[in-house]
Amino acid sequence: MPKHELILLKNMMQPGYTGSLQDYERAGGYQALRKVVGKAQPAEVTAMVMKSGLRGRGGAGFPTGVKWGFLPKGYVGPRYLCCNADESEPGTFKDRQLIERDPHQILEGILLACYAIGAETAYIYIRGEFVLGAKILEQAIAEARTAGYIGANILGAGITANVWVHRGAGAYICGEETALLESLEGKRGLPRVKPPFPATHGLYNKPTVVNNVETLANLPHIVGRGPEWFASIGSPPKSTGTRVFCVSGHVKRPGNYEVPMGVTFRELIYEQAGGLRSDKLLKAFIPGGASAPFLTPNHLDVKLDFESVAAAGSMLGSGGVTVMEEGTDMVWAALRLMEFFYHESCGKCSPCREGSSWLVQTMRRIVAKRGRMEDLETLVDLCKNIEGRTVCAFGDASVAPIMSTLKYWRPEYVALIQEAEAANLIKLEPAGARH
């Protein structure tokens, strides 16, 4: 049993809670929306969110209130809210749970955000594989519409808010906010060049906010219980609130754990998730989804907040914590992730497109014991040449596994290569060298 107060998972932890409108309302749902719609100015809602210190849960951790504040003031014409439910970052499975178990919590968050930013239409961009999640959301929307929370003239306040579910169709990159917008426009999910940012030129070139599911799910609580309350949780001032961490890999009790930001990895892995599967030693862990550089047992006491993890050389990212026990082949692990990035590179930027295919092939060679020592230099070079040279953050992410495993477990690479060299001692002279 968790020793912290649960916020987002609280309802669903109640025995018998079904996530229906009735259950949600009984648990106090939609009170926050009722509190503000037609009663508070939209700007006041934004101010509350700003004050709460809420930062995006999608990966980048950008302050939500500040993002909303970028929308052009006094703009007439449509604005949009997009709920990013594309959850595809390997190691991450929290949004799925939030969607399937407590959809109204998200809808209320969406409606609050719509109200704050003046959007009459919100799209929930949900990854295509979440068929069940999409159905549950559709049903929740229908319920909320009947109850007057969604539609024209919500809560009789003369305000329109429509929410539609839009399914993706299998492309990790569509979680990147501008790729998401392209995809939502019926195009290939290629990230856009920024600036301009979605806040001014988003969906259909109109001012748009993209927020993660978990980010939005926090809103009813912030508005309902006050920003000060929220700001006191976690590790203020920079990382407030709780986060739902997804623990996977070699642990006894993998799963989603909501804890205040600032607890340590040790606490999360050993207390919440029950420690390592077969009580082996911890070898490595990924702190924030596949895009976050690997960390080592030396980092177990790092705090789970944005700044601390960054200081440790990685990132809190999506909150997906993957644990690897002693004996895990780190080169293989890096290759697995590299295969993912190769498969998912959208192909827009040359360094990412060509680099991912190059890296994956070289890694496959090393793992297959056909590597050469020079390969290691090449790997590092290629990674450096991809990093910071692409349109979106995917490029940076894609090199994290190789860069970090090379940093901490280089001997494993070397060993594989030495084995390869030993097995292949006869070197062919190049044809031109024979006289």
Partner: protein, 887 residues
């Protein structure tokens, strides 16, 4: 351009420069002579920043920035020459080279390849030793092939096809490194074949099959000249190896077309090298044309002419010239007819329709040219297109319209006989804000509807109202007589649509009205042009800056034909032949009296030949037998002649009847000038020597005049141009931009006080409503994108796209007659019948069917011909025919 632009100052590698706000760093750098390497950037396209090649350092920005997508800002300091930047460029190249096949030895782009050049510049190689991805080479079409292994995925082709052409035929398929450029599934490319993708590809991934493996770029000789397929007047570079035509392209930004071309320009160049070219003079002996020497042929013609002239006088002669000839030839031709022969019986192919637009401009605004340019089209905020089907007839003017709409946000209003349907060929009505689909026979009615809405909506300019009280009253009265119900019946368009269109038009600040060939060549075309000018005048747009009327020319030098005086009633400078001052000036220049008798126009000459009045005809590059409907009796009339002389590239239907055929040089074999539809005079330069024994038309005319004893001698085309400039002061600036004339206020004054009265009663009535009987469609003759007149039917490339005639039909009609694409159909009416192949297209409006006139000789019998009483333009564009599926 007087658009006041703010500027920003920045430094590039320490060099200060000030550029207009909004300029991209890559462009700012170019201005100080720094070429930042790039693949995906192209000035015509929106930045996509996908290749990542153009990275630069920008002070106070942590990461390298793509200069192609970064806008220069005040105080920005950009560095392009640091080690960091250099290494970044080299590394991006290394990535791009990774999967590249390095097959430069067999690549057509070798020697003009960005990837090759940058690799050389950076001595870049790739350490890549893994397996390269392999794509199959695709025969994209008979004309274009893709080698996707060479592709750098900059998407310039795809973006061009969408952003510039609005065709959207190319698509990146798949994801990641396996992305390749395709069209649809395994289907061959079906598109406008503008060649843009071939031209814009920075490497050799998309190549023209017409010239594949034929050359290395440095072997080619280049000639910058002007395309001869339509009135847009695109600048092309003809590339040749020895005497062989290898390739045509157009440099980015070149000419009025700014480097863009259409299928005709890009793939049509092989017409000149067709084996059927007439390469030696021919004389008819015992009924057959046999080869002869120049000497013999010239002698023969001179001798016969002399005898005929002695017996019947100069009025027994007539002359006809093609609007494809150079200005120099057109000028010399009319001088030859007027001076050497002594008659005004002469005409040119401008008579087929262009004259309608020119005459209307002369009457209302006192100019024979557009008062606007392509730039005005691009900058217009409202564009009205009437009967243009612009994509197919004047594709590059069409691009200007697309640019205005897509990039500048202009409102497009269209009155066209097309349905907005998405197809392989762009459809201008898809970009319309307001589109009305009207049959060509009812264009006049639609324009009247618009005028009525302007009058009733009170959109009349106050100054015009004051200055032309009677004029405004007369027109108002005239339109009030028209009933909205009748207009709706004629056009199928509701009153509201006209009202909306009129409101948009009136709101516009820069309004350009384009009238296309379908209008100019349809019955009553002249009157409709006048009415369109009324529309501009009434709304106060005629004289406003950036506003004007722009009739589109079909043939590349129709405009030049008029300006050179190669039409019966005009002297060079488009001056009336009855204008005494002009006559006097001209006879001084020519040192010769001008003939007095009014000249006969095209159809009149044929009638006179029929009547035995005209006995000798000089035809230069024209083919009236093939072009005019048989009812006119051209073939019989020409058969009666005592002397028919043709200067031709091919043995056309007309040339086959000739007594003497002179082999003429094509446009790529001669020098001179063409004047495009907007009145811009451009240099034509020979790319190869005349094929066989052929000679430029001007040389032939000059030689004839010498043999006839009234010599018109010139050393070269330039000398003729010099004379043209003497008689038409300042003719053709030959500069990069046309200088359009201003509306002549005096002429407008005359028109408003008096000129309008003459035919107001006839042009403000509704055209006859064709009652379409069961089982018939209205057949129209049209130009297609892939051909131009009949010349292009000799072009290998174009024939590969469109090898023959076909009937374009609406799906509903097709279904009605149980016809599918590819079926044979018989068209018939009381005048004859014709069998062809059907093609079902969504863009064709119900009840209409189009037949490309390039292949329609045998269908001409179905058409009646009406000659415009004012402009003498023969009109035979629509016919009512029964349709039947046949085998």
């Amino acid at each position: 351009m007087a658009t006041t632009t703010e500027t920003v100052r920045l430094t590039i590698d320490g060099v200060p420069i000030s550029v207009p706000k909004g300029t991209l760093v890559i462009e700012a750098a170019r201005r100080v002579g720094v070429m930042i390497p790039h693949f995906c950037y192209h000035p015509k396209l929106k930045p996509d920043a996908n290749c990542r090649m153009c990275l630069v350092e920008v002070e106070r920005m942590p990461k390298l920035q793509t200069s192609c997508s970064t806008v220069a800002t005040e105080g920005m300091a950009v560095r392009t020459a640091t080690t960091v930047v250099h290494d970044a460029h080299k590394s991006v190249l290394e990535f791009i080279l990774a999967n590249h096949p390095l097959d430069c030895p067999v690549c057509d782009q070798g020697g003009k390849c960005d990837l090759q050049d940058f690799s050389h510049q950076y001595t870049a190689t790739s350490r890549f030793e893994e397996t390269k991805r392999i794509f199959q080479k695709e025969y994209f079409s008979p004309l274009i092939e893709t080698q996707m292994n060479r592709c750098v995925q900059c998407l310039r082709c795809v973006r061009y096809c969408d952003e510039v052409m609005d065709v959207k035929a190319l698509a990146p398929i798949g994801r990641g490194t396996m992305t390749e450029i395709k069209s649809f599934g395994a289907h061959p490319l079906d598109c406008e074949f503008c060649g843009g993708c071939v031209q814009i590809c920075p490497v050799g991934a998309i190549v023209s099959r017409l010239s594949m493996y034929e050359y290395r770029p440095w072997m080619l000789k280049r000639a910058d000249t002007v395309c001869s397929f339509c009135g847009d007047g695109c600048q092309i570079t003809v590339q040749t190896k020895d005497q062989e035509l290898i390739e045509v392209n157009s440099a980015q930004g070149a000419g009025r077309n700014s480097g863009d071309l259409c299928a005709r320009g890009f793939f049509g160049f092989r017409a000149a090298s067709h084996p059927d070219r007439v390469t030696q003079p021919l004389i008819r002996r015992n009924g057959v044309l046999v080869g002869a020497t120049w000497e013999e042929a010239l002698e023969y013609v001179a001798e016969r002419t002399k005898r005929l002239k002695q017996a019947h006088g100069p009025q027994a002669f007539g002359g006809l010239i093609s609007g494809r000839c150079t200005n120099e030839e057109l000028y010399l031709f009319q001088k030859f007819m007027r001076v050497t022969i002594g008659t005004n019986n002469l005409d040119s192919s401008a008579r087929y329709g262009h004259v309608n637009g020119v005459e209307a401009m002369r009457v209302v605004q006192g100019t024979h040219r557009w008062t606007v340019t392509f730039e005005d089209i691009v900058q217009a905020d409202v564009l009205l297109l009437v009967g243009t089907n612009i994509t197919e007839t004047n594709p590059i003017t069409g691009l200007k319209v697309k640019e205005a709409v897509k990039k500048q946000g202009a409102a497009l209003l269209t009155i066209e006989a097309i349905q907005p349907a998405i197809g392989a060929i762009s459809n201008i009505s898809n970009l319309s804000e307001q589109h009305v689909c009207v049959a060509p026979s009812q264009f006049g009615a639609a324009v009247l509807g618009l005028l009525k809405a302007v009058v009733e909506g009170n959109h009349i300019d106050s100054t015009v109202r004051q200055q032309g009280e009677d004029y405004v009253a007369a027109i108002s009265q005239a339109v009030q007589k028209l009933a909205w119900e009748d207009l709706a019946l004629s056009t199928g368009v509701s009153r509201e649509s006209f009202v909306q269109m009129a409101a948009s038009l009136a709101k516009g600040r820069r309004v350009v009205v384009l009238a296309g060939q379908i209008l100019l060549r349809s019955q009553g075309g002249y009157g409709i042009c006048l009415n369109l000018l009324d529309l501009l005048l009434l709304t106060g747009k005629l004289t406003a800056r950036g506003c004007g009327f722009a009739p589109l020319a079909e043939e590349n030098n129709d405009q030049g034909a008029v300006e050179m005086g190669a039409v019966a009633a005009m002297l060079p400078g488009a001056l009336e032949i009855t204008d005494q001052d002009a006559r006097a000036r001209m006879s001084r220049a020519w040192k010769e009296e001008l003939p007095l008798a009014t000249g006969a126009t095209l159809v009149e000459m044929i009638d006179r030949a029929q009547a035995g009045i005209i006995k000798g005809l000089f035809i230069v590059g024209e083919n009236p037998v093939g072009s005019l409907p048989p009812q006119i009796g051209t073939r019989e009339a020409l058969g009666k002649l005592d002397l028919l002389v043709c200067q031709e590239l091919f043995l056309t239907e007309t040339a086959a009847l000739a007594h003497v055929v002179f082999p003429a040089a094509s446009a790529v074999e001669k020098d001179g000038t063409f004047t495009n539809a907007e009145g811009h005079v451009q240099a034509v330069r020979s790319a190869i020597n005349p094929v066989g024994d052929s000679r430029p038309d001007w040389e032939i005319l000059s030689a004839l005049s010498v043999f006839m004893g009234v010599p018109l001698e010139y050393g070269d085309a330039k000398e003729i141009l010099k004379e043209i400039r003497a008689v038409i002061p300042g003719y053709g600036s030959l500069g990069p931009l046309p200088i359009p004339p201003a509306v002549d206020a005096a002429a407008v004054g005359r028109y408003m006080s008096e000129g309008y009265r003459r035919d107001l009663a006839t042009r403000y009535v509704l055209p006859e409503r064709a009652v379409r009987s069961e089982g018939t469609v209205q057949l129209g003759l049209a130009q297609t994108l892939f051909h131009s007149g009949k010349l292009s039917t000799h072009s290998k490339g174009l024939l590969q796209i469109e090898p023959g005639g076909f009937l374009q039909m609406n799906p509903l009609d097709a279904a009605r007659y149980a016809i599918g694409t590819g079926d044979r159909v018989r068209l018939s009416n009381s005048m004859g019948e014709f069998t062809t192949t059907a093609k079902v297209l969504d863009r064709v409006p119900e009840g209409l069917a189009w037949l490309p006139d390039h292949f329609a000789q045998n269908a001409l019998q179905l058409f009646d011909c009406a000659v415009d009483p004012d402009t003498k333009v023969p009109c035979y564009r629509t016919a009512s025919v029964s349709v039947m599926k046949t085998t």
